[in-house]
């Protein structure tokens, strides 16, 4: 069984946010509003954040694309009282909308702010398409076709794409990747099997300096950032 992970090359990233927008389009994630933005409740499954250090003129700002880290030791999984969040065998951390009771423990527990609460009624999503789960036909079936008001949502590593690729015998990480990786014009985002020493992600990790966010929390994230 593969263990899926993502490697994001911060030296290649241009901060263009194609990843974040493509994620919204792929996963039918509702857009926010000025008010939600102010309250920080706008839903994002993938967001580019800025981290600022230093003073003029020695300022340094890093832009960091942030999907869910799909931690091997995920605090969200531990705290979920409804078992709505669980880790699949392939390491992807999943949120089952039908089990979620909307208690938001997981949002509090996640050290990465990777989770969003769906405050939206379906009819609020003016641009979206309630009749169509994302990428239904050519990328596989999305398991929770209806967005549900009052539940927690998060990045799935586009597991509908992965599952579909495996069924069709395609190579995950080469032929099929999550929407954010596919949309990256700089080819900064790679996806693949961390347990396969021959995979592109493993090769990148063995040849470059890398870091993970909040390593000290002991969450063992499966999103790696290439720095040097």
């Amino acid at each position: 069984m593969a263990r899926w992970g993502m490697v994001i090359d911060l030296d290649k990233c241009t901060g263009c946010q194609s990843c974040a927008v493509a994620c919204k389009a792929e996963n039918n994630v509702p857009h926010g509003s000025p008010e939600e933005h102010e309250r920080r409740t706008a839903p994002f499954w993938h967001k580019v954040i800025a981290v600022s250090n230093g003073e003029y003129p020695a300022v340094r700002i890093d832009l960091i694309p942030m999907p869910c880290m799909h931690c091997d030791d995920a605090p969200c999984v531990t705290v979920c009282p409804a078992k709505a969040t669980y880790r699949r065998e392939d390491g992807i951390v999943i949120q089952d909308f039908r089990r979620c009771i909307g208690c938001k423990y997981c949002i509090v527990a996640c050290p990465y702010g990777a989770r969003s609460f769906n405050y939206k009624e379906p009819e609020e999503k003016e641009y979206h398409r309630p009749d169509l789960p994302p990428e239904r036909a050519d990328r596989g079936i999305w398991p929770f076709p209806h967005r549900v008001h009052g539940v927690v949502e998060k990045c799935t590593f586009c597991f509908h794409r992965i599952d579909q690729a495996i069924r069709e015998g395609k190579k995950v990480g080469e032929e099929v990747v999550p929407a954010c990786a596919e949309a990256c014009p700089a080819h900064a985002i790679s996806f693949g099997d961390l347990d396969d020493s021959d995979s592109n992600v493993s090769r990148l990790l063995s040849s470059r300096q890398w870091m993970r966010l909040r390593e000290e929390m002991g969450t063992s994230p499966k999103v790696f950032y290439l720095t040097g």
């Binding site: 946010q17 389009a25 003129p57 832009l63 036909a137 398991p143 990747v177 080819h187």
Partner: protein, 758 residues
Amino acid sequence: MSRRTFIKLSGLAVAVLAASRLLKRPALGSAVSSGEGVITEKWVPTSCLNCATRCATRVRVVNGRAVKVAGNPLSRVSEGENCARANVGLQVLYDPGRVTTPLKRTNPTKGRGIDPGWTEISWEQALNEVSERLKALRGKEQPERLLLLCGLNTVSAEDIIRRFADAYGTPNVVSADGLNNEADKAGEWLADGHYTQSAYDLERTNYILSFGASILESYKPLARSLRMWGKIRRERPIRAKVVVIDPRYSITALRADRWVPINPGTDGALALAIAHVIISEGLYDVDFVKKWTSGFDEYRKLAIDYYDPEAVAITTGIPADTIRQIAGEFARTRPAIAWRGRGATSWPNGSYSSYAIFCLNALVGSIDIPGGVTYQENPEYRLMPEPVEDDPAREGRARPALDLRKTGRFPAAKVVTNQVADSILENKPYPVEMALGFNSNFNMSAPGAGRWDEALGKVSYYVHAAPFISEMAEYADIFFPLTTFMEEWAYDHSPPGSGFAEIRIKQPVVEPLYDTKSNIDIVFEIAGRLGGTVGQSFAGIGDDAQGFVRYRTAGLASWDKLLEQGVWVGPDYEYYKYRRIFKTPSGKFEFRSGNLESLLKEKGEEINSLTCLPHYEEVKFLGNSNEYPLLLSTYQPLLNIENGSQNYPWAQEMFLVMHGAGWTNFIEINRSTAQDLRIKDGDTVWVESRFNKIKARARVFEGIHPGVVSIASGQGHHAYGKWAEGIGVNPNEIIGVDYDRLSGQAALYSTRVRVYRA
């Protein structure tokens, strides 16, 4: 590695899948809920128009609804990639505020915020009414009094609008170029005779020295730059180095190896100091300079005598050692590119700064070599016959243009966009009786925006064509609702960048959602109604948008193949064309501009010892430094959509990634400056120039020169849009009107302001 599978390139082929098949798949949930039975899907190759790059795209259409935009792998310009703007195309198409039918004004009073009193009319009535007006104006033999204003249109629409102007008899086609890159273009023209932005061979370069070029946000072709950025950083044995000169820490500066803040408007001086170092240390490409350039001795003398790094350090605020270091790196790391951008060239001294920066490329031999400056090949569209001319057309076109291009005021200019508002207000050189705007929105996008409000209010008959209401549309007597680029036929290509030529075909990915037409179709319809020589000029070139695209692209490839692939790519680029590329009196690259000399002689303009050399002129700022101590600059974030609207939630909520902010813009102010002014982050402040003032939110920011404040463009819409109106501020409300004299480029950053708590 091909990590993108190109599924179903067969474009229009429709894959029909039975829902029952889907249901059999082992999934966690009940995958298909609704029982429609059949899902049809297709990928349609087309191209984007959310910026002038016009990237090739493919759009996934499911059950007749566009649901996803992706790149087209057959495009070599962007190598199958897109930027975030392309994805926003879905929200352009499905913008709930689009205008669905032609509109006519009932309220004769025009002005900002005044309700036009729209009433819906038929296309027949709208087109007839406009055509009658056009006929009458031409009947009076005053066709030059028709003004055509163009925002961001497809290349095919630009071609058709220009043809209409020629046939009708007006010299007054005014694009937005005069607000963007004209000084940049003039700089290259001074040196080699090409009035164009440069094509930089980013893919093969080893060193980029950017002078205010926003390579990763607004410089075109953007998606190509983004793709190549990944390539030059980590997909080759040599990792290219990037140094960014800019008063503001832009996204490009953030991703560069080094950011060097500079005193605003002094880039030309820096370029000459770099030349000073390169020449005095003997680091220049002697061979190239000797063989393929002229005027080097005068240029060398100027640089050596007047642009000592110590002296220039005071002008630019960059230490002399840093200048020496950058110059040394630039000259020794070949191939290297000196890349000029709006930040360096949109100044009253813009053409000369642009020229000075461009000359650095010649010094290190980076002209028409792999990894240097290249000469963009244009696609060979099928030529149209010359428009049929009659006397009114000939005489009208021969009249001086409203924007004073090519006059003593703006001798080298091709278009002086911002001058037009004043020409309208002053009736000079003649009154404007009628104007047609195609996707233009100059009373938002031009400095001194308020003048455009007055000017538009004065034009007695204004027709606006766009998919949505905008600030400019508020002044229209007739509104033509346009199709979006997802619903129409067009051809397109990118601004210079790739070297080789590439065409994209736009085809409707969905049927037009509303009772709308493309601007090409509108022009054909009007030309037909005008008849006479105008009508004849539009006969035999395809009759409508689709026919026109087919006519112009005939001979490139079969129509079916063009539709299926969506792009046509020209032959590989050829380097080292020195015998052919220099369009100058000497036939060489000129450090002393013979083109300018002959132009000024022809106009009877004064020429002194500096006039034809790249040199630095101190900028005269608008407003004195006691009263207005700070300089106001602007920048274009990537998610500023260039079609004249910003009514797109995805673009809004990720608008300023560096500030983690959306749905707004800020007045960015250096921390120490803010402390002096007792301004805290998030405070509401007044930003006041000599001309006007606006209220904005302050963002205390480490990444900005202490003497500069900056506002992102793209916000401050006031006419329309649930997701745009009332959000942020428009800096053009307070920026003064100023120009680069040679090119007529609007000087965007020379206005001084004071900032105080509101």
